[in-house]
Symmetry: C2
């Protein structure tokens, strides 16, 4: 039996949420003003943001009305996450807060606790967090609410995702381009997004851009983006009986919301009946309302309501300034709390009786706790895609690791339609995952050329040249219980450094919330790495994302550098099954030598690192020098270097250790994958020099190895910001991770470790230094790489070198 709310119901509810929002910011005692307000009722530290609260409360009231009237499952994403008091007030009154947390149950005690605990140490913070029911987006760092909403709506045909976008947030780049996302939304198969632009003209202190735009400009802009804009100005009602009590023009606001849902339903109906028009125009509500609406109009001779002065704590010092105390008292009493709450402090039944029930409540929509509805993927056996390895000639055959994984992912798509997507900012083809397009088109609903078979109305592939949009969409998709991978150029993933950092915070906090279930991991698959940016050069060389990840909570981050195709298959398989993590996988798209069989790769990946016997000196005894390597290019160079060394000075005992799970380097006490000291010493015997050839900035290895004793014995090579358009070999050489530099470093260490080989080492160094110079001259002269670089025919090359007199 549906209880449709009247306009009066909406206003009472709005007053109650406004009251609770303001009370949370100010009161530690006397939460319902049943006593005269005294300074000691005020919190000692006044924290929070009032300015956005009344608008959020208005939107929430009208959204609840839609939910009730249409029985519409609705997820709310609140861009202005600093409006937490508003959201919490709504969650309290609908009872979901109390359902998640006993201390906030829907009664007088709960109301008192809610008011008192807000912004208090241990209580709800001043922003939305994973602790807030119904939340999949904090809204702390602005810009991503809208794209997160679209990600949540994808493949969720019955869901409505309402998204509040503040006019401050609307100024950000990520939001400005996210408006295009309706061009990717299929009204038949996907859900709907209802954006509500919350225009209240001011940021912290300054005018907003959108606040300064005319109605015509706003209409044109959103028309241009492809929407049907619905402009509505919310204001005090002229029909108010008592002008001291705030009454909003609910009829007009309700009409705007009705118009929006009507348009959405018609659009979906037509598309689902096969009558959908091209370029579907979804509604967007542009809601103007006064900033800090219903607060004191003026204080200390300055306007408060409708200005930036209402942004945070509008009445600044009620504890010490009697005028402020009086202003606060009048403001709070203007909502007439005695009409909203019972004597015992619980809300009057009339205020809340019409609200949505059960899973229709904003705080209880299952999609906002995605882990609770997540189903594991159907993943084919990755070993079916194994590349054959000739164990007698490892490295002789080359293949593109990414291409191999593309075939695996093609079948993953096929087995998981409607719950698995690839979000890719710079095109799957360019990252050599083109095979996936055999299983799925790129979904794009705007008209496209007829001769392009890989683009269409429906598909598991999302491509847009916006790392921000891809990241936020994928967050929305994962947090609502689905699965995804983010293939990306390595250099440009740093564009989302800060987004990843915020997402890591979301995961960390989620882990602390008992009722929140783990969602699928966020899987970054980086390719088109800096070491082979032949067409692009220096700007496309930036491996620092990895460093950012290492600063996050150990429980939530993993970094994998699979050295070949079979290891990449095993790694991706693992990542797709994992939950609650940010997995960073860095892989190569160029044809590169292949080392391990599927069986070996599985073992190698399970351990995270291995001694590669076949690339080490044949000895069980003391090792003279360890060649450690992580990453496709550093590994290949290390294998060649080891071979050159073993062929020229067989007496020098070299061990090659490949690391595929970078965090095994961290100490066990810092990271769950970290080796204990005994294990570490097994691979890197104490006192033995280690030449570490690394894919990224050396700083990453320095911070990981910091707590290991005897760090002077580690020499770390990596990317040192040298680059331009040049040959692959010259680029490796410029950064000192090439085979000859490694040979030189090993010989240098070897000469000290093994005095009897000193002379031999010195001679050999000179020889290989000459070879290196010759190779660089060759590249310079012929505009091509060293012979056989990409084919990695190690033996002929090594033989040639060995054949030279040294």
């Amino acid at each position: 039996m549906i209880q449709r709310p009247s306009l009066a119901d909406l206003n009472s509810y709005w007053l109650a949420t406004n009251y609770l929002s303001a009370a949370q910011i100010y009161l530690r005692e006397n939460p319902l003003l049943q006593e005269p307000l005294r300074p000691d009722h005020i919190k000692p530290r006044l924290l929070g943001h009032w300015g956005t609260c009344p608008g959020i409360n208005l939107i929430a009231a009208h959204l609840n009305r839609l939910i009730v009237n249409h029985d519409q499952p609705t997820l709310l994403i609140t861009g202005p996450g600093h409006g937490a008091p508003a959201v919490l007030s709504n969650l309290f009154l609908e009872g979901s807060l109390g359902e998640r947390y006993r201390e906030y149950k829907l009664d007088g005690e709960g109301a008192k606790n809610l008011v008192r605990d807000f912004s208090w140490p241990g209580g709800f913070p001043s922003h939305l967090t994973p602790a807030t029911p119904g939340t999949i987006h904090e809204g702390g760092e602005l810009g991503y609410a809208l794209a997160t909403a679209f990600g949540a709506a994808m493949d969720n045909p019955d869901l409505l995702v309402a998204c509040i976008v503040g006019d401050g947030e609307a100024e950000t780049g990520p939001t400005a381009t996210a408006w295009h996302l309706t061009k990717y939304l299929n009204p038949k198969r996907d859900g709907a997004v209802l954006p509500i632009v919350h225009l209240n003209q001011y940021k912290i202190a300054s005018r907003t851009i959108f606040g300064a735009m005319s109605d015509d400009e706003l209409r044109d802009l959103f028309h241009g983006y492809g929407y049907e804009p619905i402009l509505i100005e919310a204001h005090d009602s002229e029909n108010s009986a008592d002008e001291r009590i705030p009454v909003a023009n609910h009829r007009e606001v309700a009409n705007a919301f009705d118009q929006a849902i009507d348009r959405i339903q018609k659009l979906q109906r037509r598309w689902r009946n096969g009558e959908g028009e091209p370029r579907p125009r979804w509604p967007v509500i542009l809601l103007r309302s006064p900033k800090g609406w219903t607060v004191t109009k003026e204080l200390d001779g300055e306007r408060i309501e409708g200005t930036h002065r209402s942004h945070q704590v509008p009445v600044e010092d009620p504890r010490n300034d009697p005028q402020h105390l009086d202003a606060l008292d009048r403001w709070l009493r203007s909502y007439q709390p005695e009409t909203l709450f019972e004597e015992d402090g619980s809300p009057k039944p009339s205020i809340i009786r019409w609200l949505p029930k059960g899973a229709r409540r904003l705080g209880m929509i299952p999609e906002a706790n995605g882990g609770s509805i997540r189903k594991p993927m159907t993943i084919p056996d990755w070993k079916q895609y194994e590349l054959d390895i000739d164990r007698n000639h490892r490295g002789r055959e080359t293949a593109s690791d990414m291409k191999t994984t593309g075939e695996f992912l093609r079948d993953v798509i096929d087995n998981n339609r409607g719950r698995f997507r690839l979000f890719c900012p710079d095109e799957l083809n360019s990252n050599r995952l083109g095979a996936t397009l055999d299983a799925s088109q790129r979904q794009f609903v705007w008209p496209t050329p007829a001769d392009d078979p890989n683009i269409g109305m429906q598909g598991s592939v999302f491509e847009m040249l916006s790392e921000h949009t891809c990241q936020a969409c994928m967050q929305g998709y994962l947090l609502t219980g689905r699965h995804a991978i983010f293939p990306c150029y390595e250099a440009f993933v740093s564009i989302v450094d800060s987004m990843m950092g915020q997402y890591a915070k979301f995961l960390k906090r989620s882990d602390e919330i008992e009722w929140r279930d783990q969602v699928s991991s966020f899987n970054y698959l980086l390719s088109s790495e800096g070491w082979r940016q032949d067409h692009n050069g220096y700007s496309h060389q930036m491996p620092g994302f990895l460093n950012m990840l290492l600063n996050k909570k150990a429980q939530n981050v993993r970094v994998y550098l699979p050295p070949d195709a079979n290891c990449l298959l095993s790694t991706i398989d693992h990542c797709m099954r994992s939950t609650g993590k940010i997995n960073l996988v860095i892989a190569s798209k160029q044809p590169m030598p292949q080392w391990l069989s599927a069986e070996e790769a599985e073992e190698h990946c399970r351990n995270g690192l291995s001694i590669w016997d076949w690339a080490s000196s044949p000895t069980d005894e003391t090792v003279d020098v360890v060649l450690a390597c992580a990453g496709v290019y550093p590994t290949a160079e290390a294998v060649v270097a080891s071979r050159l060394l073993r062929q020229t000075i067989p007496d020098l005992r070299i061990r090659l250790v490949n690391i595929t799970d970078l965090l095994i380097l961290e100490q066990q006490s810092f990271h769950p994958h970290g080796l204990n000291n005994e294990q570490f010493d097994h691979f890197f015997p104490p006192g033995t020099p280690v030449i570490f050839n690394f894919h990224g900035y050396p700083s990453a290895i320095k911070q990981l190895l910091w707590n290991r004793p005897g760090h002077e014995r580690f020499r770390i090579n990596g990317y040192i910001e040298e680059g331009t358009t040049t040959t692959p070999f010259s680029l490796l050489a410029a950064n000192g991770i090439d085979r000859y530099t490694l040979v030189d470093q090993v010989l240098c260490a070897g000469a000290i470790e093994r005095p009897e080989l000193r002379e031999r080492c010195v001679q050999t160094r000179t020889h290989f230094q000459d070879v290196r110079e010759e190779m660089l001259r060759h590249a310079q002269h012929n505009g091509e790489d060293v012979p056989s670089f990409t084919q990695w025919e190690i033996e002929p090359l090594a033989n040639a070198v060995q054949g030279d007199p040294i």
Copy 2:
């Protein structure tokens, strides 16, 4: 005497630039096809991007026409920086390339070298770089061209900045919001930006969003942004006499450009005469043209021209495939090189005679080599703003470091109008630089409320809630020879991690170019740090930008953590005078204790670190434990800890070292500011334990200290991703950088260093552990901070503690 080009001139010039662009990608020999084309004429590695070249060439031809016809100083910013072959062709023909580089002088030899060296090791790379004359933007990482253009135009009233925006780049967030920048451009005092959206429908392999939009959608969108859009479709002319020779519809294209310049001139004239209309509508040219235009129409049965297949190297294998060789031959000869170039290979005079001359050439506009026209700022003596320090009670007085610096910057603005700006994404007031608004309004030309005095048509302050836009504008402003500071919330500067990384690359490459003069440094002034985000909490705590900076080239980066107001003044003064760097300054906005007089601060900042005798044990002898600190909060905690320790166990010899220039920690061989080992040992005596209390992630210190011997003796505290809305003290404690944790760590080390004090140390540890617990309980219970935390009345607190029995 102006030589206005005819339409035929434009087409011949276009053919010549197209020819040279294609030749650069393909030919190592026979650059003008004077012999039959053979496989060995083809470069061994074919690198580069053809797709965007013909469009860039068309735009450049028509821009040159405007420059000549209007004698208009014009700076070109090319968003599709991967179209370097096109830009280089134009620079070669106008002679600027030859003026900068002898080997590319405007003759046959120069043409041959240009064609041969492109993408060759040591030659011009496939993207624009600082080596390219006329370039202030690489266009490698997409998204920032447009805002860079606006920054270049600010305070440059005579300049036209033309900006090509690819339809790929247009999908990025930063570009999508940068369109709003006309709302910040004052037609009276600033220059003009002419954006040209280069719509050719495809990215690497996929359709572009803008390519799929209808004409109406495009017009509405740009109307909404506030522009007057001029749509033009470039195509093969129907009037072509010989259909094998490409001829473009130049008349229509020229009309579009005329319309644009006409509108710009009228708009500027009216505003400069005081008749400017509100909401000035600037033109934007929306230019549709076929991708890869004029290339082979079809090859191997697939369409090439007008599709994504022309993006990079459209004819893939002319070295080995005779059909491809033939296609390439026909394509190149379609431009009829014999009509464009003399026998000796130099361009025919008729092709180039009409081009702009001297400083009007795109490659020679002085603003593109900003260092050459940069004038140092007029900076008042910073000591005028000194905060008085009572040397007998250091730390007793508190002040906001940022506020003090705001007064300094107010006068800096006053002395440098029109050549100094603040670019601030999250409002100067919020970062406590409000004093600057006494000297300058926030510039914003769209209508604003009459009652806001701090916003207006003209000012030195730029505020927009978009870190991307602020960063790109500031780059454009600096690179054209001016000065600026970027005040920003610390947590959100990570939004521009990757932009900073790209800018660091630009500076590094610039240093290698002889003719490029150094521009003013990019000064980040970070505040609203994570340690005091009372209103916001966990999402506002992210100090990782510093880590990213440390991975850049040492010559270009500096990191300063001034501990108080006088140090901040000295640091900012230094940064505003410096050139060629990225200076990162992290400062506090909350009232915090003040330590050093101006004179002491000057000395401290000059040295980069000092032993603070007044906060250390009175001893010249051996030190038991060094307390090192960097950053305002870690320093304050360290000073209090030292005092607590000295009062409770006077026999323990403690040295407090404050570090204000973080890079002195790096080794001298790695960074010019690095201490040599002798200097380092002076501050941190070998074998002495060091407790390092750091502002950011501990990883930054780990990587800096990596190469110092005996790293086991360093214990590093910092931000470890613990946070929520809580009291300041609880936040410090949660991350283990609070005074009591420091006391504990020092006592722990002291007990080992000084066995005779062992028992005393152990007792004292227990006592302070209890105090710490008590303080945390206090915060939890009372919702307020430990007593006197913000006032830092050290003595009463310390006495109270000392008075307790232990």
